[in-house]
Symmetry: C2
Subunit: 328 residues, 2 copies
């Protein structure tokens, strides 16, 4: 598995070659790869690698080691449900297998990747249909090609709308603390020739108050059965500002991001990462000595603040439990 190390962008394009499940797990934890769909895909390949090595070590008893590696992969990050969804698929695919499980499992991982790419193109076209000509958009974090198998969820919609000549301007929040907006979203869009204007996270509400923003478009890490949506920290504040300023809020995510086992966002675990990510910048301390930090990296936006949920199986606008159930 060859991963573009997203921590190094945009300064350098560094690829990491990985051939064990443990290294995939470490890559997910350390954010070499990030973005809910991309995490799920990487974990699926990790599962296939786990089966290969477990079978090589013990052709008759590979299943126990395989199952343990799935649990190791599952524990890497708590919020994105695509991770568990992909590993559940890899567990189901392994169930009937006997002799050498690798060919069937690498094929399943490949299917997950290819289906994600197709879903993104479908969502791009579908979401773009909601966008009227002359629109200005705001996106947050990176829900792009880098976060998926390619093309992107929120950025897939941006790409499709741009391609259709409908966009006047695309704004992106820089997205502290990892600066995925400044580093990744800007890098992706500019490579496609789509101009982008960065703002600080705190400037989004002022942007919506003083310049017209038609849609705020984001991805999702986990969507509850009622449409409550966990996404990158700061999304909830964007949704509040959008509602106050009559911008509309679009969540773009494949069905693999929907967790039908939880009825509301209250059931979504929100990952908290190291305080150092806030206190330091590029491993240089910037905060005053002695200061502590709290670093939740996702938040939950209530369904009531979301105008449209765009999936590869259709649009639910506004999201409701019934509308979401009908997607399946």
């Amino acid at each position: 598995v060859r991963l573009l190390d997203q921590r190094c962008l945009p300064a350098t394009e560094t690829y990491v070659e990985i051939d064990t499940a443990a290294a995939i797990a470490a890559a997910i934890e350390s954010m070499i790869v990030r973005g809910a769909p991309a995490i799920g895909i990487a974990a699926a390949y990790g599962a296939a690698l786990a089966a290969r090595s477990a079978h090589a070590l013990d052709p008759g008893g590979w299943r126990a080691a395989y199952d343990a590696e799935l649990e190791r992969l599952r524990a890497t990050r708590p919020t994105a449900v695509n991770l568990g969804w992909a590993l559940d698929r890899m567990a189901r695919a392994a169930a009937p297998l006997g002799a050498d499980p690798f060919p069937a499992l690498i094929a399943e991982a490949e299917r997950i990747r290819v289906e994600d790419l197709a879903a993104n193109h479908a969502m791009g076209a579908s979401g773009a249909s909601l966008i009227a000509p002359g629109a200005s958009l705001l996106t947050h974090c990176n829900a792009g090609a880098l976060a998926t198998a390619g093309y992107g969820t929120a950025l897939g919609v941006v790409r499709a709308a741009w391609g259709a000549g409908r966009l006047v301007r695309v704004y992106a929040t820089e997205t502290r603390p990892w600066l995925q907006g400044a580093r990744l979203t800007a890098w992706e869009l500019l490579r496609d020739g789509i101009p982008v204007t960065l703002i600080t996270d705190g400037a989004a509400a002022h942007l919506m108050r003083t310049r017209r923003i038609d849609w705020v478009i984001v991805g999702a890490d986990r969507i509850a059965a009622n449409g409550d949506t966990a996404n990158k920290i700061g999304t909830y504040a964007l949704a509040l500002a959008a509602r106050a300023q009559r911008a509309r809020m679009m969540v773009v995510a494949p069905r693999s991001s929907i967790d039908r086992t939880i009825s509301t966002g209250a059931g979504i675990p929100v990952e908290e990462r190291a305080a150092a990510e806030v206190l330091e910048f590029g491993s240089r301390r910037v905060a005053a000595a002695g200061a502590d930090a709290w670093n939740p990296v996702f938040d939950v936006t209530p369904a009531a603040l979301i105008d449209a949920l765009v999936t590869e199986a259709g649009i639910v606008s506004p999201p409701t439990p019934q509308g979401i159930a009908a997607l399946f």
Copy 2:
């Protein structure tokens, strides 16, 4: 005039010695000194220095050069009204002067400084009276001793409430792009032994949703006659989140921050600074090459989202045109 270079904090405490109005103007523009009241005070001393040099050059005709220097100082930053307020005072103080204007003008600058310090202590006690025991607070940017003659506006309230044993926890946003929260507010509060937990700007709404925040407490750069308040970019988003999550919003500012010549916030000029402040971090480029940025550094919070305006002449809760007029 001896200024603590706030750009160097918290890494080093570097003082800059200044003896010309032009150097004061440059210090305000380059943010060696920042914070609305502190800018006004620095400009007042700059005016006194201008009178001294103008009188030394031309004892009979110093007034023309003095007036020109006042206009140069007035043009340094557009949003904080304390700047114009202090310079208006220095113009009025100069009007009756003949021979050597410096003694009277340095005395006027000194009065502005001393009155600001007294106002901060009065506001601290007054604002703290609104805070019930066991409270948790969130503040934004730095409205502290560093932003004023001492003690602070918003941080004056924090100091007074902490001293009265009423606070459980103080949160501060890091406040991109200049990180005044991480660099300055944390530095100030920790020097006073007040523990502080930093969050990214985007995490504030999630904080208010998941942990109890009783008050969001901020300073102001300019308050319109109806209570609409310009303050550091991101304040409006905090006010929206506070209203959605039943936290209360307190603006702490001396009457010198109130601009009675404008009826609403629509009349407040919002400064936009260089894109590089967003695109770079410590003069290292972090954003993707080719990305542009929009960098408004203040926003306007509507009076309707403010629960209490605390001034040295009393509290207006909620702020109304009548209540604000009664302060004068």
